[in-house]
């Protein structure tokens, strides 16, 4: 199994210290090989910086936001950016800056949770379909084909219309809609991996299928999944914000960026700041995630380079 977790590095540390097996202290784990390349990748570093900063904003939102994101103060409505309200106030007098700060956690978790759903289910489907082949593969892939027949945001839209508009349903819908992407990616990698001699060997000595999948097949597809999940998070955040924008995601008064944009729409002429700052925040988040994803792809999986 490739060593992804720091735990493995720790486990290997004694032998490295002993210096017998690896006198030149050559990088041995995959991570040790990749880390320097990632460190040299300027785009990846910038992306990682942006994402880390946003995560920090989300974590310390109560410290960073001077006002409550939902407190209404009609006497302060539609004020332009000032020292008291760096991003102005909206039509209810809520502090736009505080709302943008609180929105970071929502967007990042919507992205992470929907990608989590998509990657987990998609990987499971791809593993089973690719390894089992035959009828199981045929049926699963036809289902995936049908899902892919709904272009772009349409599948998520259909699912939300069935489940009803809410932040939770939005994450489920965006997650389900991205399943085919991972299922196909993983299935393709599994088809290649299962031809390997060591998989045959494991099968011959009677290793259970479950263990073969987990220990011999899955590690081969980890790299493409990590890349796809990172880039997929950008798409997920954009889709979720778009659905909230048209009223099918988070409901008021949640400080969700897409929703804030649509709420500021009617005040665009006189209060441009209500829509502008949440939009910049979405763009910055997606940009950071995409830069990180592009960097990871260059480093981890050059085959995926476009």
């Amino acid at each position: 199994m490739p060593r992804w977790t720091p735990a493995y590095d720790m486990a290997d540390a004694p032998s490295a210290l002993a210096g017998t097996a690896h006198p030149a202290r050559a990088p041995r784990t995959r991570w040790q090989m990749l880390a320097p390349r990632l460190r040299r990748h300027r785009g990846a570093l910038v992306g990682l910086g942006i994402v880390t900063a946003l995560a920090a904003v989300a974590a310390f939102q109560n410290l960073l936001a001077p006002h409550s994101p939902t407190r209404i103060d009609v006497t302060a409505a539609l004020e332009g950016p000032s020292r008291a309200h760096p991003m102005g106030t909206d039509q209810y007098g809520r502090d736009v800056y505080s709302r943008v700060v609180h929105g970071s956690g929502i967007s990042l978790s919507v992205g992470a949770i929907s990608v989590g759903i998509a990657a987990t289910v998609g990987t499971a489907v791809g593993l089973v379909a690719g390894y089992a082949g035959g009828l199981v593969d045929g049926v699963l892939m036809r289902v995936i084909d049908v899902m892919l027949a709904f272009p772009g945001i349409l599948l998520a839209l259909g699912i939300v219309s069935v489940l009803g508009p809410s932040l939770r349903n939005l994450m489920i819908a965006v997650g389900i809609a991205a399943i085919p992407f991972y299922a196909r990616l993983v299935r393709g990698s599994v088809l290649v991996a299962k031809q390997q001699l060591y998989v045959d060997a494991a099968r011959v000595i009677g290793v259970p299928v479950r263990v073969i999948l987990a220990r011999h097949i899955l590690p081969n597809v980890v790299a493409p999944i990590i890349v796809a999940a990172t880039l997929g998070m950008g798409t997920a955040i954009l889709s979720a914000a778009a659905l909230s924008f048209i009223g099918l995601g988070s409901q008021p008064p949640t400080p969700e960026w897409g929703r804030m944009l649509s709420e500021g729409r009617d005040y665009l002429r006189d209060a441009w700041w209500i829509s502008t700052f949440p939009g910049l925040a979405i763009m910055l988040t997606v940009l950071g995630v995409n830069m990180l994803g592009d960097g990871l792809r260059d480093v981890l999986d050059p085959r995926l380079r476009v």
Binding site: V146, L157, G258, M283
Partner: protein, 307 residues
């Protein structure tokens, strides 16, 4: 070629069948009673609910309902909107030209910008041109289309007064929506064109063309671009689908008539027959567009031989 088209058509059938089943099942997947959900805002007496259920044939067995759904759909009957009682198919066909116009305009813009950026980036690989083209592409995939739409409205309608902010109609109503919708797709096309162009420019026939003294533009455009565009064509179908779905957002931003806005309003109004009709129509249309793209792809590239 005929056999290839026939085979592709045959492979499309189960997908279309699956799409109809998925769209039909939507009503069954709604938590609770779909009829009560659709009527929720109105005063509902038990016999109103019963009448509605009979109207939608919800009192029949699933298979029978599904059969009826497919049979009607195949005959162009997608049911009636429960709000304004108009046939769903008529509503779609009425608004379809507006939406197709927007999606085509956005695709044309995306192709023009994306291919230009991609070619410039590939020809001047690793230069300042390359770097800035790819930076534009990166920004393009990261900008939310609805935000870009609002910014365009703010600048070109509210401040400069050059273009109308909302509504449908002539070319002036099409410019900003097409830009807002197409930028994301242009970024994807730019990246693909760049990488495909880089592959082609390394080919020996390019060296030959250069060696025999052809002018650089002729080499790049005729020998390079024409071949590099082949992989780009395949994503046109995919991008057209994305753009078609994206009209849902953009038509809402610009208050433009179209089936995207029709769908959003139908969802917000819980008008399920209308939602099902639009979703089914767009999905089947998308499948057919992709079929057409595959056929064009096979026709354009003589290297591709299908069974």
């Amino acid at each position: 070629m005929v056999r290839y088209i026939a085979a592709r058509l045959l492979a499309t059938l189960p997908v279309v069948f699956g799409v109809t089943l998925a769209v039909f099942s939507m009503l069954y997947l709604v938590p609770g009673d779909p009829v009560k959900m659709m009527l929720s805002e109105f005063i509902t007496s038990p016999d109103q609910v019963a009448r509605m259920r009979a109207q939608l044939h919800l009192d029949e067995p699933f298979a029978r309902q599904y059969g009826r759904f497919i049979w009607s759909a195949a005959h162009g009957d997608l049911g009636r909107s429960i709000r304004d009682r108009r046939p769903v198919a008529a509503e779609i066909l009425e608004l379809l030209p507006d939406t197709v116009q927007l999606a085509v305009a956005a695709l044309a813009f995306a192709a023009a910008l994306g291919i230009s950026l991609g070619v410039v980036a590939a020809v001047r690989q690793n230069s300042w041109w390359d770097l800035s083209s790819m930076a534009v592409a990166l920004a393009g995939v990261s900008v939310p289309s609805f935000w870009l739409g609002l910014i365009l409205i703010f600048v070109f309608s509210l401040r400069l007064g050059w273009l109308p902010a909302t509504g449908g109609g002539g070319v002036s109503h099409l410019v900003m929506p097409a830009l807002a919708l197409g930028l994301g797709a242009s970024a994807i096309i730019a990246r693909l064109t760049r990488s495909s162009m880089l592959d082609v420019l390394r080919m020996e026939y390019i060296t030959t063309a250069r060696a025999k003294g052809l002018a650089a533009p002729a080499v790049v455009l005729r020998h390079g671009l024409l071949n590099a565009l082949i992989p780009t064509i395949t994503i046109f179908g995919l991008q057209f689908g994305n753009l078609l779905a994206g009209t849902v957002i953009i038509e809402t931003v610009f208050g433009r008539p179209g089936i995207g806005r029709l769908l959003v309003n139908a969802i917000l109004n819980k008008d399920f027959p209308l939602v099902q009709g639009v979703v089914l129509f767009v999905a089947v249309g998308y499948v057919l567009v992709n079929l057409a793209v595959d056929v064009v792809y096979a026709a354009v590239d003589p290297r591709i031989r299908y069974g």
